[in-house]
Amino acid sequence: MNPELHRAKAERITRSMRKLNDSDYETVIEACMLAGSHWLNFACHKMELTSPSTDIMHAEYLNGIHRIEISLRTPALLQAIDEIESHRAGFVRGNLDGGEQVAARCRGLLNLIQREASAAKPLKRPGKDELSSTSQR
């Protein structure tokens, strides 16, 4: 899916989530994970790591090469989405205590993900002139 559709989906899910309180923590955490996944795909497409025909469903399914490259280029984004995913099993599917605090934490992580993803851009490749001047040194 193209980056702008990922952005639109992420913003739409975030708008829906804002109607909820942290006491609705299962849905807040799930929404953060879904919106975060869209921002992750937005960032990967913008960085030209993945093509719009190849979307990532969950950060945990990333291969080692992608994980290293994303970690190097936007370390906070991957850490944040990993943390949200780590809360999902215990608080959305399970019954751990403290869901409201985790929901608030996930909202903050989603804001961070949005900022990081919005700043994503392709790696600058050296132009012909830069390459030739480097080879002459």
Binding site: M1, L5, K9, I13, L34, H38, D55, R93
Partner: protein, 71 residues
């Protein structure tokens, strides 16, 4: 008896015959799962028909399961 929760229909796979209400609930869950990835993760437009189908499937799923729940 499984020592795990069901994450999605078919996960874990249950080989034994399902009681009627559970089989109905699974069928209705499959309706919801049909729309989930295309409409939430992908770009399939969410139409009034889809919303109605999902709402009906959810209501049917809950109704089928309520016979197993003591309130």
């Amino acid at each position: 008896m499984f020592d795990v929760d069901i994450i999605h229909v078919g996960m874990p796979k249950i080989e034994k015959p399902l009681p009627g209400g559970i089989a109905t609930a699974f069928r209705e869950m499959e309706v919801l799962e049909t729309f989930r990835d295309p409409c939430i993760r992908e770009d399939r437009p969410i139409t009034e028909d889809i919303i109605r189908n999902c709402s009906t499937a959810y209501d049917n799923c809950i109704a089928a399961l309520m016979q197993f729940v003591k309130l």
